[in-house]
């Protein structure tokens, strides 16, 4: 869907983005992860030509982005900003309708689409007549998302979309974000510096540093086969949790003890879920074991300790 070839952006001597290439498959959610100044935001803004690259090419749907005027290109790419970027002099409804108006939709179509989105995002209907300054931070961010989704562009770019929110609101909106069916149909490139968020929301992650992609891969690939110490160190702080989240039960299947017949075990979990999810299911219950049915194998049962032991075994089995 999106293909980036040898993209560079230089500001004088400094190379903000230095010869990077990557691809994003359709309906994939790619995360650009890194610290401030690593070039992730510059890369994102080159995708919709808010920044013009020094060299390199970008294709969306097989077409070079420079093939049409930037205004027309951008109308077909959703964009969510960290500070929401809502127009303070427009009502919520007017804000959401900006792109459709640019695309010359008729009023009825705009109205219908707006109501559809308001419902999906669980926004109170009276919000539409208000001005952005009258909304909470979380509501503003939801409106920002609604505005980006309004024209139903196939590609969505998000620049630290949850960065300005407090922890509780962020967790809540991330959860909504994951469950929103609109987003399943989109190809998303998201920029974040939050490792947790990247692993929570990304199908694939590019870890960037000093204008280059250090490693690109699925969360599990990054965790269990980091290409160098930088990637390892970058993920160190929250390593355990990330690994447990990245690892599916399936991948430690062989390390789990064989099933013991537990009559009446009501707790069960599919083997495609993460080890973290299995642990969460066990937490706070008096049941000691968890039934894990599997399509290919015999079901297994496991306790919290057994899961942990299997995980450690898995880790030691990896090449150093």
């Amino acid at each position: 869907m999106i293909k980036v070839e040898r993209l560079s952006k230089h500001y004088g001597q400094s190379k903000a983005v230095n010869d990077i290439s990557f691809e994003v498959a359709e309906h994939e959610n790619l995360i650009l992860l890194g610290t401030s100044g690593c070039g992730k935001t510059t890369t994102l803004k080159m995708l919709n030509r808010l920044i013009e690259p020094t060299s390199g090419r970008i294709f969306i749907n097989g077409e070079d982005v420079t093939g049409q005027p930037p205004e027309l290109l951008r109308r077909n790419i959703g964009y969510v900003l960290q500070n929401n970027g809502l127009f303070p002099h427009y009502t919520v409804a007017e804000n959401i309708a900006i792109v459709p108006r640019l695309l010359k939709w008729d009023d009825k179509r705009i109205k219908d689409r707006m109501h559809e989105l308001v419902e999906k995002l669980h926004l109170p209907a009276d919000l539409l007549a208000k001005y952005p300054a009258q909304l909470s931070g979380g509501q503003q961010q939801r409106i920002g998302l609604a505005r980006a989704l309004m024209a139903d562009a196939p590609v969505l770019l998000m620049d630290e979309p949850f960065g300005a929110l407090d922890n509780i609101t962020r967790a809540k909106i991330q959860l909504e974000f994951k469950s929103l069916d609109e987003l399943q149909r989109k190809t998303i490139v998201m920029v974040t510096h939050d490792v947790q968020e990247a692993f929570e929301l990304g199908n694939r992650i590019c870890i960037m540093d000093k204008g280059r992609i250090v490693q690109a891969g699925t969360p599990a690939e990054l965790l269990f086969s980091p290409v160098n110490d930088f990637v390892k160190d970058f993920l160190q702080a929250q390593r355990l949790q990330l690994e447990l989240k990245a690892l599916t039960i399936q991948s430690i299947w062989d390390l789990l003890p064989p099933a013991i017949a537990v009559e009446g075990t009501e707790l069960n979990i599919r083997s495609t879920e993460s080890v973290w999810a299995a642990m969460e299911a066990l937490k706070g219950t008096t049941r000691q074991a968890l039934l894990i049915p599997s399509a290919a194998n015999e079901p297994k049962t496991s306790t919290f300790e057994q899961l942990m032991a299997a995980y450690h075994q898995y880790q030691t089995s990896l090449p150093a």
Partner: protein, 523 residues
């Protein structure tokens, strides 16, 4: 409240003039404001987009703002002549800075993420400007226009200096003629206009964004309508145009006398004397009301028309001193009288020529003259108190003040401080009576007609003889104000009508009566 009643009477009496002047004032303010918005707004937008130019543009606009208004008006005369055009251009230049600066500040102050969002959603630069940047910057831009409006209402009073009309005619006429009611009749409406426009624009500023969109279209229309009040001074009524100072216009020994005794009917505009000579030289004016010892007479090759019916009273110069100052500084009187008899008309004209045209400093001219007359003594740097010398704002008074300062410091142990540039007769005289200065050079005719203002009969009786005039003002000043007239310096700086020498020769005009005959026969 006698004062208020007479002000009311004055305004009622002059209501026609007041109305015209107010409309002229509003017109001047808004024509220039409208052009300033037309130029300043796009310029502000331009430098907000191309920031590398912002320093230069704001710098130039800032420098323009610092040029003294009367100097700016003076510069305009060779380029644009006199009247409405240079006044509007000057006002326009003054209004530019606040408009450009606030447009720039307003637009660059729009939240960067809002601008980025607008671009990212696919708005063109034009759409970003009109839908995002301008609406969000509008309160700041309007604040700039508001500032410019108030500045313009104020500066427009100076338009009367170059014959563009406005409430300045009353204000400066009143100052020259020592007529408080006249000053107030101009100053109060000017102040009210400033307050009114400021208030109206503050309302526009507070209106919500939505309504403002309509306001954006309404505002230029309103500005244009107000601008149209300005009636460009009526077409020339005679072959020649006269430019008279506001003071000359209102005086019995000025324009009123010309009309009564000579029956002179000439198209006349009101103009400040700082620019009048230049305007005559530039052929913007043909006849002006000057002073007979003015150095510019020589500089601009002008000729004094003979006052064959003797309407201009004598204006012999002499220092006038508060009696309390004479008691405080016992040696002052003798020292000031040292100059008496040393300067006649032609000497004074020459001295004035050296400052006005050769641009020598008054101090240098004063010193060279005193040295030549063997009157100069180096300063004794005395510490026996400070004598405060005043002067009005023209070269001759500066020279006289310098001479007196050198004489006092050379012959006595007093120090001096000079307060030059006290606007007109009224300001100078008020400074003297209110103990702000100790003495200044005054003219007998001014003392008689402007300060004492005796009955017409008395003027008739003493006004045409130089000794009678001197004796009368000396006696009355002592009685009424406790002020002494010391010995006359010797020259007579009377009012005079003057024309370009070349034109006088061409038209065969030598006297004021010749001028009248020419006007009557060439209608």
């Amino acid at each position: 409240m006698n004062e208020q009643q007479t002000l009311g009477q004055f305004m009622q009496e002059q209501s026609d003039k007041l109305f015209t002047q107010t409309l002229e004032h509003i017109g001047l303010t808004f024509i220039s404001l409208f052009i300033a918005v037309l130029v300043g707004l796009p310029l502000g937008i331009f430098i907000a987009r191309k920031k590398q130019f912002s320093g230069t543009v704001l710098g130039i606009a800032g420098v323009l703002q610092t040029i003294p208004s009367i100097a700016l008006l003076g510069f305009m005369i060779p380029l644009l002549g006199i009247g409405a055009k240079p006044a509007i251009v000057a006002l326009f230049l003054y209004a530019l800075l606040p408009i450009i600066r606030n447009t720039y500040t307003g637009i660059t102050g729009v939240d960067a993420s809002v601008k980025e969002a607008a671009l990212a959603m696919g708005m063109s630069l034009r759409q970003v400007l009109f839908k995002v940047e301008l609406p969000l910057a509008m309160p700041v831009i309007l604040a700039g226009i508001r500032t410019a409006t108030v500045i313009n209402v104020g500066v427009a009073t100076l338009a009367s200096y170059i014959a563009a009309g406005g409430l300045g005619e009353f204000i400066f006429g009143g100052i020259s003629l020592n007529n408080s009611n006249m000053i107030l009749a101009g100053a109060i409406p000017a102040a009210l206009l400033a307050i009114l426009f400021d208030f109206l624009l503050s309302i526009v500023q507070k209106i919500s964004f939505k309504k403002l969109r309509f306001g954006l279209y309404a505002l230029p229309v309103i500005a244009l309508a107000l601008a149209s009040f300005y009636l460009i001074p009526s077409a020339i009524g005679s072959k020649l145009t006269a430019g008279f100072t506001p003071e000359f216009m209102g005086r019995q020994d000025g324009n009123l006398g010309l009309q009564q005794k000579y029956g002179l009917k000439i198209h006349t505009i009101v103009i400040n004397d700082a620019v009048m000579y230049n305007a005559a030289y530039e052929k913007q004016l043909d006849v002006i009301s000057g002073y007979s010892t003015d150095g510019r007479l020589k500089a601009y090759n002008l000729m004094v028309l003979e006052d064959d019916k003797k309407i201009f009273p004598p204006y012999y110069a002499a220092p006038i001193v508060r009696q309390s100052a004479l008691q405080k500084f016992p040696e002052l009187e003798i020292t000031l009288n040292l100059l008496s008899g040393h300067i006649n008309d032609s000497v004074m004209t020459d001295l004035n020529y050296r400052t006005d045209y050769l641009h020598q400093t008054p101090e240098r001219v004063a010193k060279e003259f005193l040295v030549a007359q063997k009157l100069y003594q180096p300063s004794r740097h005395g510490k026996a108190g400070t004598v405060r010398i005043g002067s009005k704002v023209f070269g001759e008074q500066y020279i006289l003040a310098s001479m007196y300062s050198m004489l006092i410091e050379g012959y006595t142990d007093y120090a001096t401080s000079t307060k030059t540039g006290l606007g007109g007769t009224k300001i100078c005289f008020d400074a003297l009576t209110n103990d702000q200065i100790d003495f200044y050079p005054e003219y007998t005719g001014t003392g008689l007609l402007v300060l004492l203002k005796p009955s017409a009969q008395k003027v008739q009786e003493v006004g045409l003889n130089k000794d009678k005039t001197y004796a009368y003002v000396q006696q009355e000043f002592k009685r009424q104000y406790h002020i002494e007239w010391l010995k006359p310096i010797g020259f007579n700086n009377a009012y005079a009508l003057m024309m370009r020498k070349q034109q006088c020769n061409d038209l065969g005009i030598k006297t004021i009566s010749d001028l009248k005959r020419f006007l009557d026969t060439n209608k």
